[in-house]
């Protein structure tokens, strides 16, 4: 077997991440992601304030919060007034990102601000996975030319006689990275189930037990019913393992990517309906990939999947 040279690896890297793509896909992703964050997923101010005021100190501070608190100590800077001002500022940055005004500056601040609010919420004793994938996607978008279309920036550029880029080598990688991270996450959950739970994870009882506990805690009649169906639980367990272990194949089968994303969407909707697992950030990323990633219906693609 021939070992690829550094030059060949660099070319492969360039092809995989930086194949030119239309900026309109990226711009649509920006509009969808920012709208979802501002109007749906944005951490609640009440929750931020209640956590802050009910606890004299952080319980398990996230690294990001520890970093911020090193410069701005909690006792002095983490006050209800300061958090309220920060919250509204981040919301305002979100509105500017949505309309695409000063996108290059505003969008990274908005993404980092959103990271800060979520990390602050998760510094009081518990942390969840539901926001992680979306956080990566939002920050990735902010580092890309996502304001080159469907934005006031593009309008201003055109008015000034310039021409916003319609195709860019930096317009595809945020989708490719989100896809890779999704595949890693599913593979990791699937592998740990197989390694730690073994084949017994698919005995039906495991899923029944989990579903009953989650559905009772969240008052979900459908989940309570599913938890009492043994055969159905076996089928759903097997389906879960196949999906989680198999999703990684979508990285190598670009033609089937849409089907994999649709399956992921169905998987999360199912988890929500049965167990109340609100992976809405995750769901938003999957939906955006389904609509925007190398999709031909927005504008003709210069070149589709990497070689």
């Amino acid at each position: 077997m021939k070992i690829p040279s550094l030059q060949e690896l660099a070319e492969w890297w360039d092809r995989y991440w930086f194949t030119p793509a239309p900026t309109v896909n990226l711009a649509l992703a920006r509009v969808l992601a920012v709208a979802a964050q501002v109007f749906w997923l944005f951490p609640s101010l009440d929750e931020q304030l209640v956590r802050l005021q009910s606890n004299p100190h952080f319980i398990h501070p996230q690294f990001l919060i520890r970093l911020v608190a090193t410069v701005f100590p909690r006792e002095t800077w983490f006050t209800p007034q300061a958090i309220t001002v920060v919250w509204w500022s981040i919301k305002a940055l979100g509105v500017l990102s949505l309309v695409g005004l000063f996108t290059r500056v505003v969008m990274p601040l908005f993404a980092l601000g959103s990271w800060f609010l979520v990390a602050h919420r998760f510094s009081y004793g518990d942390v969840h996975h539901s926001e992680a994938m979306f956080a990566f996607f939002l920050l990735s978008l902010s580092l890309s030319p996502c304001g080159e279309d469907l934005s006031l920036d593009a309008w201003r550029k055109r008015r000034a006689g310039g021409a916003p880029a319609q195709v860019s080598p930096l317009a595809r990688w945020p989708f490719a990275l989100a896809h890779l991270l999704l595949a890693m996450a599913y593979l990791s959950t699937g592998l740990t189930k197989v390694v730690f739970g073994g084949l017994r994870w698919m005995n039906g009882y495991t899923l029944q037990s989990r579903t009953l506990q989650d559905a009772l805690g969240r008052d979900i009649p459908l989940g309570i019913w599913v938890a009492q169906q043994h055969t159905l639980s076996i089928l759903l367990s097997v389906g879960t393992i196949i999906f989680e272990l198999g999703f990684v194949a979508s990285l190598f089968l670009p033609r089937w990517r849409t089907a994999f994303f649709a399956a992921a969407l169905a998987f999360h909707v199912g988890l929500h309906l049965v167990g109340g697992h609100g992976f809405f950030g995750h769901l938003t990323v999957v939906l955006i990939l389904l609509i925007c990633y190398d999709t031909p219906w927005l504008r003709p693609q210069p070149r589709l999947a990497p070689a």
Binding site: I59, F63, Y124, H129, L170, L177
Partner: protein
């Protein structure tokens, strides 16, 4: 463009590569590396047998006699933390759990609680059907030996 690609490449490497950090740190329950997390949710399995689940509700009576439902906002912690730190120990007989929860709840209330209640419905699913058992624990700080 070359410059931008280099920065983007660095971010890609960090976004992917730093996922090794929580694995190396071996933080299971209290991960502090968000959004870089291990994705080992729901990994444990269980053997065949009756399926048991609980529905737990916290409520209280205020000084003015008003019954209130205790939610995340009243405690200032998520329901997962409340369960882990207060409810589960209380159910397991830890006599300090209820007083600790009581103190946490009353620290910011204008209308303080005088009693807290924990009601638990235990569902047991077997081949022959589903059985439900109910129990209520209560705590009043002035009543000696209250449960």
């Amino acid at each position: 463009m070359r410059y931008s690609k280099a920065w983007v490449s660095l971010w890609i490497v960090l976004a992917v590569g730093l996922h090794a950090v929580p694995i190396v740190l071996r933080q299971r329950q209290n991960q502090t590396t968000w959004p870089w997390l291990t994705w080992a949710m729901y990994k444990d399995s269980r053997p065949a047998g009756p399926i048991v689940g609980e529905r737990r509700r916290l409520s209280g009576i205020t000084e003015t006699g008003r019954p209130v439902t205790i939610d995340e906002d009243s405690v200032g912690l998520s329901k997962f933390v409340v369960n882990r730190v207060f409810v589960r120990p209380w159910l397991l007989g830890d006599t300090t759990a209820a007083p600790r929860l009581f103190a946490q709840l009353n620290q910011r209330r204008r209308d303080p609680l005088v009693e807290i209640r924990l009601s638990v419905e235990t569902y047991t699913v077997t081949d022959s059907g589903t059985a439900v058992r109910k129990q209520t624990l209560s705590y009043e700080p002035d009543v000696t030996g209250a449960r």
